[in-house]
Symmetry: C2
Subunit: 323 residues, 2 copies
């Protein structure tokens, strides 16, 4: 009973007689043998791990996503290693750049924040990569995300359809790394155009990030205007929650005085007061697809073409923008 035979049995590989299989299994049982993952990794040159790299882990959107990624990876026998970049371009680059720590993981699902399209191109081409969010694929990796422009157009149109005429947008980021924000702003504008309405440029507010304090501050600025908005399209649910916090603390009502819609559909928005209307991306679909494509990329002998994968999304109308 050679070690090689044991290996065959343990891995379910190859042709093994039922008799041998049983004998080995009994021995394994008795001796409490456990295969050494490290040795297997070395011999195969693979780690059986994938990395999920996101800017912030305490952002509900990402932690909800992480959960789904974890599930999908586990189903395929992979473990998940995580890292948070804080949006730091250097840190982000290190992860995808030439080799770096490589080998710890067989592939990466990456949600870039600080890296623009240029920096993304300069990467280790042998590292299987799936990008989430708003960088478009250059053909060497897959990109999974919803159609931001369309979703933003729908959200904005919903507010305009309510009869609101001074619709604000919170979250614009008019610089190279703010692609996601810019797509949403584009959708915001398209919705106005489609209805023949002019965008109130003073109501388009930028924020450094997409979290609660950002939303709260931006909203305060909007309320300080001579003519405050009567509706707000927020580029994330957290921004929306921050904005609502400010509105309410100023004694105004949502949605009566100001209607609000967010983006991401985090659970929190379904229980807040008021509940928050939102653009709901299908996170389960995104996670499952990202993992599936990544594993394909890892196991495929020839690199598959880089795909642009559009996840489904829908508008969820709750109290914050009810009629």
């Amino acid at each position: 009973m050679s070690s090689r035979t044991v290996s065959n049995v343990v891995n379910g590989y190859a042709k093994v007689t039922d008799r041998t299989r049983e004998r080995v299994q009994r021995a394994v049982e008795e001796l409490g043998y456990r295969p050494n993952v490290l040795a297997r990794n070395l011999a195969q040159g693979k780690s059986g791990q994938i990395a999920l790299v996101v800017p912030y882990l305490d952002t509900p959107y990402f932690s909800e996503l992480l959960q789904s990624v974890l599930r999908a990876a586990r189903a395929a026998g992979y473990t998940v290693l995580i890292d948070q970049t804080d949006g730091d371009p250097e840190h982000e680059r290190a992860f995808i750049a030439h080799g770096s720590r490589r080998l710890l993981f067989d592939g990466v699902i990456f949600s870039p924040l600080g890296l623009d399209q240029m920096a993304l191109a300069d990467r280790d081409p042998s590292l299987p990569l799936v990008i989430l969010g708003e960088r478009s694929s250059d053909g060497t990796f897959d990109h999974v995300g919803i159609d931001d422009v369309a979703a933003s157009r729908q959200a904005t149109d919903h507010l305009l359809g309510l009869g609101r005429r001074r619709v604000a947008a919170i979250g614009d980021q008019p610089y190279a790394t703010g692609e996601a924000a810019q797509l949403r702003t584009r959708g915001f504008r398209e919705a106005h155009e489609a209805r023949g309405q002019a965008v109130h440029e003073d109501l388009v507010i930028g924020t450094p990030r997409f979290n609660r304090p950002d939303g709260a501050h931006a909203m305060a600025r909007l309320l300080d205007l001579e003519e405050p908005p009567d509706a707000v399209f927020c580029y994330s649910d957290l921004v929306a929650l921050g904005a609502i916090h400010t509105i309410v603390s100023r004694g105004l009502r949502v949605p009566e005085d100001i209607a609000v819609i967010g983006y991401d559909d985090i659970e929190e928005g379904a229980f807040s007061n008021p509940t928050v209307s939102t653009v709901s991306p299908d996170k389960e679909w995104i996670a499952a697809t990202a993992v599936e494509r990544l594993l394909l990329r890892i196991t495929s002998p020839t690199p598959p073409p880089g795909l642009e994968l559009r996840a489904p999304h829908r508008l969820i109308i709750r109290e914050s923008s009810a009629r």
Copy 2:
């Protein structure tokens, strides 16, 4: 220039002449050499990874914790591998039981939910382990957590101090795996005793988990009572947010009609409407201490004694229980 010498330089080890060091570094640079982590792992029998195992990753408390753990681990040159157990006892056991996948990680920071003290004892004793939450140490692992009884006593006392006389508790779990809940219930009772008040037994409500829907349902049951409570101590902030959601949707006011206090101090509670009073455990301290103890346990030749480490906590009073 042997491979062994390169190894010495790369690891900063041993006595190496400046001249050799330089020569090696130049070569490394030119050839773009990267050490193979997998091989090093095998040779050393370590993986340089620690695992963080929690019941739910989309719970803000855990994702905020994860973030701090990640930071601490990274500072020590370790990568973090995560797993979510969904509170499944089998899954939890597999992680700490004899060997299991072992070797993928050098140690585990574990927040058990489905495992009682008994099951916890039956584990691979060679696996460095730090427990978070409410299992007490049996001397072979460290335990990090706040003093739940004291914290709960303080929270309840705060409500009683507001002059409220019908104080409810949401989150009790009177079964083996509900230790955390039971400690909080004990604190709840102690606070009543200290003030010579009787606990209204019908106002102590159990919940299967500690999330928003649980809080919302439990609150609905409380409001359906003949004599509803005028204050509620919730065993998590999510429960509190769910409860507030129900209260408000029934047309009642927080804190005027019902005061609410939660537990965990998640960011959400600072921006909700109303903002939520809470028991704030020092998460940064917990994460840093857990990682520190775990690494000590991993690197120490003789296993250090299992410590009970009490993290600091404080009461944060916000709108939901303002006077």
